[in-house]
């Protein structure tokens, strides 16, 4: 049983996109300093730092980001890099949470960062395959669009899913991205744009896929007892769950759903004492459009095979019944892999604080983040509440 409660008291985020003028360190510094400024604390208040990053070694020759994250702030505190592919940011968040719950820290800085545009697209594809099973997927020439296309085909074979329903996910997320000042793509698109974009791995076209992105995000976590000293509207961590599965998609029991999402969700919702009906918004891991469809069902937002219709009906827009990915998601906001999980927290916190501008979900009280590593080998689900849980 966890006894200590944790709150988010500050957030920071860089512009997402091709940020040519900044390297890994500069992105990280920008997000860190913004988050501390938002929390109105000096660096010296920070007891520990956790940083999520996947490919620093592969894309920048830089592992060991712990030392980088602390020295930007002239600190000598415990500073640790955590990796779980595209779920790295959420894993860093979980470690921050446990550090406070353990009693070892009262104030923790959590970062996510990825610098992807310094290397070629093929180099990125190669590096990201480190998230799958090298021996049984990478060696076979599998790619991540390929893996999600395999899941999409299995899903379609089982439940049916129209091209329009899949494309509607992308259209909705670009609509949200157009209303998020830090998003990589701030331009609405049409169903036709998705249909006509280049085929990547059937049925997924380029506009079904999240892009290659530079970016960083940070949040300041605080022992909930003292949160009000720093922040008028702290957002509380009501529940957190994490689960895993085999690296290789082929070894899993089902190909058309992500079991680890179901397990992580169950943990997080139980801790938060909520059901899916209590949710006002969710940020889900839409690395590909099909991933958002599966996530909606695995989180219980609708029954199996029903997500496509919900999206098609427009219910997942920010002003719909079940807002999904108001940030624009990985699809339109961009997907700097190590930063994505922390960006999801930033979005939910801003929504619960009423600071989400043109994409604000009215009166949002409870929000959820859902972050997936690889094709489903790691999943983290967190529940956030405006009031003390």
């Amino acid at each position: 049983m966890v006894e200590r409660k944790v709150a988010v008291i500050g957030v920071g985020i860089t512009r997402f996109g091709e940020v040519w003028e900044k390297g890994l360190r500069q992105l990280l510094a920008e997000a860190e300093l913004q988050a501390l400024a938002d929390a109105r604390i000096n660096p010296e208040k920070v007891d520990m730092i956790f940083t999520g990053n996947m490919c620093g070694g592969e894309f920048a020759g830089q592992e060991h980001l712990g030392g980088m994250a602390s020295s930007i702030l002239n600190l000598n505190v415990a500073s640790t890099r955590v990796e779980g592919a595209c779920a790295s940011g959420s894993l860093a968040f979980r470690q921050g949470l446990m550090a406070i719950e353990s009693g070892r820290a009262d104030m923790v800085l959590v970062n996510g960062v990825e610098k992807m545009t310094d290397v070629s697209t093929e180099h990125v594809t190669t590096g990201l395959m480190g998230a799958g099973d090298e021996e049984w997927e990478g060696f076979q020439g599998f790619t991540f669009p390929g893996l999600y296309a395999l899941m999409a085909k299995a899903y379609m074979n089982k439940f049916g899913l129209s091209r329009k329903q899949l494309a509607a996910v992308a259209v909705k997320n670009h609509f949200h991205g157009a209303r998020n000042p830090i998003a990589q793509y701030r331009k609405e698109i049409t169903l036709d744009d998705v249909y006509k974009s280049m085929m990547v791995a059937e049925p997924l076209t380029l506009l079904d896929c999240s892009p290659i992105t530079d970016g960083a995000a940070s949040v300041v976590l605080c022992n909930a007892e003292t949160a009000k000293q720093y922040c008028e509207a702290p957002v509380y961590v009501a529940g957190s769950g994490q689960a895993s599965d085999t690296l290789a998609l082929a070894e899993r029991s089902e190909l058309h759903h992500v079991k680890a999402t179901r397990l992580a969700k169950t943990q997080a919702f139980a801790q938060a004492k909520i059901t899916v009906k209590d949710l006002d918004l969710v940020e889900v891991h839409d690395c590909f459009t099909i991933a958002e469809i599966m996530a909606m069902e695995d989180l219980g937002l609708c029954g199996n095979g029903k997500a496509g219709r919900l999206v098609e009906q427009g219910q997942t827009y920010f002003d719909g019944k079940t807002p999904v990915n108001t940030s624009g998601g990985l699809k339109a906001c961009g997907h700097p892999v190590g930063a994505t999980g922390v960006k999801q927290v930033v979005e939910v916190v801003q929504q619960l604080q009423g600071k989400a501008g043109k994409r604000q979900v009215k009166g949002a009280e409870i929000g959820v983040t859902h972050n997936v590593g690889g094709s489903g080998a790691t999943v983290v689900v967190n529940v956030f509440k405006r009031g003390l849980p």
Binding site: T121, E122, H123, T125, T126, M129, G130, E134, E135, W136, E137, G138, F139, Q140, G141, F142, T143, P145, G146, A149, L150, M151, A152, K153, A154, N157, M198, M199, V200, A201, E202, P203, A248, L249, A250, E251, L255
Partner: protein, 132 residues
């Protein structure tokens, strides 16, 4: 994709080229790739040769590939359920994506994968082809 050295290929020879996995001595369940610990609790295994026959569960055509496979695009990948039970991911060869159907019969074949950039060494492995 990560380029494998000679020692890696040597180590993986049995599993990868000869479709040998293992079977739990306690419950009889078969595994490919081989497992170290069975969900039943069993830790003793016997080598298990797989027939290479199976059914295609899902497939797609890859149009944008990692560095070493770039010259081979497009190519088809899929997940095969072997008749003995395990599922395995592999390239599907000797067919266009348009000719394939989910559920159809396939069989394993030994094929060239790619030539290593630096050394020109050829990498081989198992692919599956349709049985019509």
């Amino acid at each position: 994709m990560f380029e494998e050295s000679a020692v890696i290929r040597w180590r993986k020879y049995t599993d990868r080229y000869r479709l040998i996995g293992n079977a739990c001595k306690a419950c009889g369940e078969t595994y490919y790739p081989a497992k170290e610990q069975c969900p039943c609790g069993g830790k003793e295994f016997a080598a298990q040769q797989f027939s290479g026959k199976g059914r295609l569960l899902t497939f797609t055509e890859v149009k944008a590939a990692p560095e070493v496979f770039e010259s081979k695009t497009p190519y088809v990948i899929g997940i095969v359920k072997l008749d003995e039970g395990p599922k395995v991911g592999a390239q599907i060869c000797d067919a266009n994506a348009g000719d394939l159907k989910i559920g159809q019969r396939v069989e394993a074949v030994f094929r060239k994968f790619y030539a290593s950039g630096e050394t020109g060494v050829l990498h081989y492995g198992t692919k599956f082809r349709p049985v019509f």
